[in-house]
Symmetry: C2
Subunit: 528 residues, 2 copies
Amino acid sequence: MISGKNYIGNKQSSKGTKTYRTFDPNLNLATEWEFYEASTEEIDEAVALATKAFSEYKNFSGLKKAEFLRAIADEIEALGDALIQAYTKESGLPEGRAKGERGRTMGQLRAFAALLEEGSWVEATIDEAQPDRQPMPKVDIRKMLVPIGPIVVFGSSNFPFAFSTAGGDTASVLASGCPAIVKSHPMHAGTGELVSSAILKAAEKTGMPNGVFSNLNSSGIEVGQQLVMHPDIKGVGFTGSIKGGTALYKLANERKEPIPVFAEMGSINPVVALPSALNEKGEEWAKQYAGSIMLGAGQFCTNPGLILGLKSETFSNFITTLGTEISALSPGVMLHPNIHQGYEKGKQNLSSQPETSVVASYEAATAPNFAQQKVLKVSGGDFLKNPTLHTEVFGPFSIVVECNDAKELETILNALEGQLTGTILGNAEEIKNYGGVVDALQSRVGRIIFNGVPTGVEVCPSMQHGGPFPASTDSRFTSVGTSAIKRWVRPVSFQNWPQESLPDALKDANPLGLTRIVNGLHSNAKLK
Amino acid sequence: MISGKNYIGNKQSSKGTKTYRTFDPNLNLATEWEFYEASTEEIDEAVALATKAFSEYKNFSGLKKAEFLRAIADEIEALGDALIQAYTKESGLPEGRAKGERGRTMGQLRAFAALLEEGSWVEATIDEAQPDRQPMPKVDIRKMLVPIGPIVVFGSSNFPFAFSTAGGDTASVLASGCPAIVKSHPMHAGTGELVSSAILKAAEKTGMPNGVFSNLNSSGIEVGQQLVMHPDIKGVGFTGSIKGGTALYKLANERKEPIPVFAEMGSINPVVALPSALNEKGEEWAKQYAGSIMLGAGQFCTNPGLILGLKSETFSNFITTLGTEISALSPGVMLHPNIHQGYEKGKQNLSSQPETSVVASYEAATAPNFAQQKVLKVSGGDFLKNPTLHTEVFGPFSIVVECNDAKELETILNALEGQLTGTILGNAEEIKNYGGVVDALQSRVGRIIFNGVPTGVEVCPSMQHGGPFPASTDSRFTSVGTSAIKRWVRPVSFQNWPQESLPDALKDANPLGLTRIVNGLHSNAKLK
């Protein structure tokens, strides 16, 4: 069922000569599936088809695009066990996770469908003419968001469903009215091919133009670079490492026409444990955080990699319990030997910093590719002086920092780079009493959490997943939640435009029943 | 009254040794005012003050910031004739224009004040908790826009009020909750100093923190570069040339932490004259366009530099009338000898292209710095082949292109770079009949106009002033109209945050009475 071929629009294609295999980290063996790296010719074909498809697809109604997105969810589900088996084989992640993530992915597609069906996301804004205004008459101007063109999506390794082929980036791209070209993640190319087949089946069933979606295989960086540099590509979505994301961002800015790159990259997700939290339920938090650090073998962009507290007996107790709890958990298998090697290297690098001491380190033998968890401890002063300790280790790893006082804690937070999330454990009174700490944390993050764990990213309109650089390349946009659609559109104003030729969203009669901004105020009324 | 000094926060300062003067283009003489170029020390002081001011200013209520903006408008008006005289002297523009532009500038400040008073611009978005949701409980998440930090504003030469010291960029920056550091435009540094004094008087009267605004003089590029590279600067607004804007954009992307640069740069603002427009009122359009090309000596970013039509007798008649009408108008003085030289050079360059012929060329002698208007003609085929003809000549200049048919017209539009505006002259029926032409034009522009002239940019919520690169560096944002505030903010999500510590915009009780998105739908209700 998995052919190893690219999808150039709805046609399978294997013109390239280079091939590669995916890997089963549990068996520690390559899979039986061989993938054909996309050739330059195939890249150009996919972009040409997408450009052609765009001229039609961009004008499709929200209802029609919603039908497509709902059909994709249905077709993914229809792939049944074959898809779940490919996922677990290529990622090492368990079946329960596979099914949960599939549900989330279908939920994302349906959430964007619902957004399109409601329709107000286009931010229709109308200012009516005032022909008698003094000293100059006012013209009629109406603005709405329109799609920008073919988009390249780079999926992430750690969410083979939810942030890959039909994940949040692709769903938001297709919802916006832009065609998507996915640069398939080489670690789950088989899963990606199956999901691609579901997307293309849905496209055919719902009458989408050929080229609205393509899937290109690649195990190296050249295919991605060629796509980003192609003059007909108008934007890029990426989830992965700071190194990879920054490289694509720089490349896109060197184009004759620079294009936006929305890269969701690294984060150590600082957690601040204030005294009341530790006094009242320190043991419970230690247990929850041991679980959060270990979740999915630590392979989450929201993994809590930094826990800060004020030096005290209760904080010491918390650290001890965290160490005991995390040591009692069983290591999980990582996605791929490369990721496991990266984890070991990062862990070694931080462990070898002389200022650190060990809180917990799982040392018992494991099967290949399993991640042995580790927690280090360091003083606030030492942490501040050594930027190596601020870097992300992707896996079940965290550093606990003992600060002398709130001032030092605040200084440390102000010295951190941008983060996806920040968390405060405490009580409502402490949010006020530690105002400087909370303010410093908020200035560094896209999402600030009170009394919770950062892992678990809700897909909803109010979610901000993206923070100041280098957490993401553009902190003004999110890659999770329905606002993610805003990355692929731009506003266009229509001045003095005839009613009959205006897009439906901007017509006086408001045929779509949208909430619009009319003469400066929200309204869902028709204009007289 | 004009000292030539910088404003570092509310203190005048002249630590630099380099000085320069502004210029009166009507007298063709330097003014009596001497300006002190800002030193590195002064730059650092201004940024440090802005950073300190930000920690306080970012938390000010919309009402308090609105009071500040309204006070700025009042203080600008209170400067009276002294300000108008400095403006006309340093720009050569007439008093009527000065007063009109002052009114527009005050109108912009008050429009942002009104936006803040209404308050819904922060896009408050609330998703309530669902503790009983299966398979996992849903947490409470609330999102709103927050300001990003100190911003540098580079004013434009051609709008000494409306796009300079207290212009749309500064007004939107201050409205957003960010401090503004203006890199004063060297051609109207005296006007800028006076306007700065008004801003600072307003800041004092309304209790704003020192450093919320600074004004730095500079006649070269070093001060601007230092500002853009300063690690505590978080964004840049720029209006000017493609060369200048692109250089700042590239510089900002080379920073360790890249920052957004919103540069509104060049545009030739294509106009498509369809047959019915020429048949029905060709003479009237010719007259209107002659006026639009000549408006403000052609020194508008929306100046119509390219007029396209289908080869025919009526189009020939239109061209002849346009030539007659524009030849009958009197040249205007340009802002500065450098701008006049740039105009002459650009005009020569395009006139020397062998494919062109002259429609109109004002040749009579003028006083120094006056811009002699010129209109060229070229065939569609020749225009397509020669990209030099696609470049902007800043001044009273335009090219008329005779196309063989609609297909050639469409091909030309698709070959153009991004533009601020595009215009269709015709009737409603032709918008449908020339669908390909209209579609190609729309894909290239930020604002599409029907039966009008591109000059004249209304300040309102539905205005999009900014188009695909190189019209601007980020087509997703506008520099005119109240949406310009969106450039200086980013969303932050608050997860499970206590009511009492949430920003007012996100509280259950909705104390600001905002329109918010609650559980996916617009609502201005309190939450129970």
